[in-house]
């Protein structure tokens, strides 16, 4: 473990390089478009080189695991960590993400040429790649959740990149909110995990699970909650509705985020937490059922769509359902003690699908770039015009259809094989394989072959610049060869490299491979008959299956269903709440305000009349007393002496002990009376005289 090289030990550099690009572009390079693009691309290429080197080293070390973390917050024994984990799965994902990321960025130079927010597009792409790489190298649930949300954020930013379009603005909101429902489940799962396991580190959690320290019922709940996150992110039924709408974003974004990497993050999450699902057969079966339902529904919808990107989007959903199903069945079988290729099949298909679906989107973007429409009914005969794009698209279509010996064949066959012990799943899987081949080639024939249906657009069509075609060629090569690392018996390298549990699964040839190949060929042939030879009328078929056709064409009415059962009640409730808010709460608030004002008025009145009245009244009283008493202030010292002596005498008189006195007390009383009479008379006369003179003085 410790003998990994410095670069692998510091694998976080690969994630930080795009972050550096983002920061540099946003803050410094935004005004220089070429520099922005060049810096961003060089960073992701560097990151790609590190990833490839890492993969090589991990292969050389036979999948040894490297883990390093730093505990940045400790809460009474519960640690939140930042750390990296390098194992085969991580290495594969790193290479996939950086490869597609580099191709898409190079492609975007041509595709986004002339866009007013050219630099910002690269900044967002870099931020996304940072988040995605961080998600991949995370070593614990806490960290993966953070990056999980960050890829959601960048997805939101990029879907709504052309936010001037209402449809794009709506789509990014829809994507964000819909995935948020799944993320809520994910978060609940994390809380439960933190509560029951006491840690969020992958290894520590999985050890506890395999040791059986978490009750199976709880484990099932945790697994399903975490799977909810994957359902949202990977656009699984019933939260798949956001992905087709997300095609409103620029096509490179669709290729990178909504085909190859971010939507695969859900699959990656399930693969990464496979130990949880292995521990619970019920949860695994839920995963598998959700996967197959999603896959089937999406495939049927893709049959009838006319928007080239939407077909691809439903195709993506369908393929993701495939992977999810494979992983679910692996968990189920392993739980029951059977060997299953599901884990290897799911991750293998994740890798090959990333390449050919990325290629499909980029090629579709090239087509759209050439002909300025998304509607395949307005295309046709473009093979002659698009010398690079059309072959690349067709190679990718062959690959996804599962034609020997292209990449899709090997991975898809493993998925079929993983369903081989479950008849219902097997039949549905083969049906989906048939439909996949059919709708992909329907797309090919309508787009590139036959007569041009819109002559004017055809005339103006032109091949894309080299920056767009080179990534196509590169990815076309990968779409062919990427599967050759998983050829059973001959080169089963992938299976012996990426596996879950103690021992690797050994894939082998089986008759199912032949069956799926034949079925895929039949699908292609049917499409050939209907859309190239026109020996079978597509319209008549549509009429014949009128109800089914309408159902498929309207995407099983999922949006309408959600509108009916979710949006309307919510909106009604919201309106009701609004009116409640407006009437009751606002009324209460305003009423409180009104009451306060009235109460203030009362208090004002009280203040003015009672309090101020008391204050002023006491002042007035004092003033009036002063007005009277000031006449004592005669200015004559002798008057004061008289006054003081009078008071002293009175005081003394009151203190007398009269009992012992004889006639003298009578003398005293008589004198007292005379004195008081004289004093009062004197004072009154003095006051009168003084008042008169005082008023005279005032007048003068």
């Amino acid at each position: 473990m410790t003998d990994y090289s410095w670069l692998v030990k510091n694998i976080y550099i690969t994630a930080l390089l795009p972050l550096l690009a983002f920061v540099m572009i946003i803050f410094f390079l935004r005004w220089k478009e070429k520099l922005s693009a060049g810096f961003s691309i060089s960073m992701i290429l560097l990151s790609w080189l590190i990833s490839v080197y890492t993969l090589i080293e991990v292969v050389a070390k036979q999948g040894a695991v490297y883990e390093a973390f730093y505990s940045f917050m400790s809460l009474r024994g519960f640690n939140l960590e930042i750390g990296v984990l390098v194992d085969p799965l991580t290495a594969i994902m790193l290479v996939v993400v950086t490869t597609i990321g580099a191709c898409v960025q190079i492609y975007s130079v041509g595709y986004m040429h002339g866009d007013p927010r050219f630099s910002r597009f690269f900044a967002y792409l870099s931020l996304f790649l940072f988040s995605m790489l961080g998600l991949v190298i995370a070593n614990n649930f806490f960290m993966i959740f953070i990056f999980w949300e960050m890829v959601g954020l960048t997805s939101y930013l990029l879907i709504g990149f052309w936010f001037e379009k209402d449809s794009a603005a709506d789509a990014c909101k829809k994507a964000f909110i819909t995935t948020r429902i799944g993320d809520l489940g994910f978060l609940v799962g994390l809380f439960m995990l933190a509560f029951y396991a006491g840690t969020l580190n992958y290894g520590a959690v999985f050890d506890q699970v395999s040791a059986g320290m978490i009750p199976v019922g709880i484990l099932t709940a945790i697994a399903i909650f975490i799977f909810m996150g994957a359902v949202g992110k990977s656009a699984q039924f019933p939260l798949h509705v956001w992905l087709p709408d997300a095609m409103e974003g620029p096509t490179p974004v669709s290729a990178l985020i909504h085909a190859a990497t971010m939507v695969a993050a859900g699959v990656y999450l399930v693969a990464r937490t496979m130990a949880l699902f292995v521990g619970s057969a019920e949860a695994s079966m839920v995963v598998a059922i959700i996967g197959i339902i999603t896959s089937f529904i999406a495939a049927t919808i893709a049959l009838t769509q006319n928007d080239i990107k939407r077909v691809l989007a439903y195709s993506t959903v369908s393929q993701l359902g495939y992977m999810i199903m494979a992983l679910g069945l692996y968990g189920y079988d392993t739980n029951l003690g059977h060997h299953s290729p599901g884990f290897y099949a799911g991750t293998f298909h994740l890798m090959t699908h990333a390449f050919f679906k990325g290629l499909l989107f980029l090629a579709a973007g090239s087509v759209i770039h050439a002909i300025h429409t998304n509607n395949i009914q307005e295309m046709g005969g473009l093979w002659k015009k698009l010398k690079f794009t059309a072959p690349a698209f067709c190679i990718a279509s062959l690959s996804i259809s599962g034609i020997f010996p292209l990449a899709g064949f090997w991975s898809k066959d493993e998925i079929v094989a993983s369903a081989s012990h479950h008849p219902v799943f097997l039949i549905l899987t083969l049906a989906i394989a048939f439909m996949t081949a059919f709708y992909m080639w329907r797309l090919c024939f309508l787009t590139f072959f036959g007569e041009p249906r819109d002559a004017e657009k055809y005339e103006h069509a032109h091949e894309s610049p080299k920056s767009m075609t080179y990534p196509l060629i590169f990815l076309a090569g990968l779409s062919v060869v990427a599967g050759w690392v998983g050829i059973p018996n001959v080169a089963p390298w992938f299976a012996s490299f990426v596996y879950h549990g103690a021992e690797a699964y050994h894939p082998h040839w089986s008759w199912l491979m032949l069956v799926s190949f034949v079925i895929a060929s039949c699908g292609i042939y049917l499409a050939y008959l209907m859309y190239y030879k026109k020996s079978i009328s597509a319209d008549k078929v549509a009429e014949k299956f009128g109800l089914l056709y309408t159902f498929s064409y309207n995407k099983w009415y999922f949006d309408e269903l959600y509108d009916l059962i979710l949006l309307r009640p919510i909106m009604t409730f919201a309106r009701w709440m609004w009116s409640f808010d407006a009437r009751v709460i606002d009324g209460a608030v305003n009423g409180t305000g009104w009451l306060t004002i009235k109460w203030s008025d009362i208090k004002l009145w009280f203040d003015v009349w009672i309090v101020d009245g008391a204050v002023n009244g006491s002042g007035w009283l004092v003033e009036q007393c002063g007005q009277i008493l000031r006449f004592l202030q005669t200015g004559s010292v002798q008057f004061y002496v008289l006054f003081v002596v009078t008071m002293t005498v009175l005081f003394a008189v009151f203190k007398f002990n009269y009992i012992d006195m004889g006639f003298e007390s009578w003398l005293l009383v008589i004198l007292l009376v005379i004195t008081l009479a004289a004093t009062v008379g004197r004072m009154v006369s003095t006051l009168r005289v003084k008042t008169d003179s005082g008023s005279d003085e005032k007048e003068s």
Partner: protein, 99 residues
């Protein structure tokens, strides 16, 4: 003893009467001297009849006499000042502190 004290009381009352009623400021000062003397008579009387030994009362009286002299000096200086400013020393002239 009581006749002496009574005499002092009456003399004090006379002085008080003078302070209250004299128009002339010098007259007021004279009345004050009467009051001082009344107090002195008391001290000397007590010295003789109440204090069994020693001459504390008399010494106190001596101090009073000295202070009275000082008072008279300062008072008369003030009177002269008043006379200079008001051209008269009647109390009616300087009721400037009137309300």
């Amino acid at each position: 003893m009581i006749p002496y004290l009574a005499l002092a009381a009456i003399l004090f009352s006379i002085g008080l009467f003078g302070v209250m009623t004299r128009r002339n400021t010098i007259g007021i000062l004279m009345s004050l001297e009467l009051m001082f003397n009344a107090a002195n008579i008391n001290f000397v009387t007590f010295n003789k009849y109440v204090v069994s030994d020693g001459l504390v009362g008399q010494i106190f009286a001596i101090f009073i006499v000295v202070i009275a002299a000082a008072e008279a000096v300062v008072g008369l200086a003030i009177v002269l000042l008043i006379y200079r400013n008001w051209k008269g020393i009647d109390t009616d002239h300087f009721t400037v502190m009137k309300w």
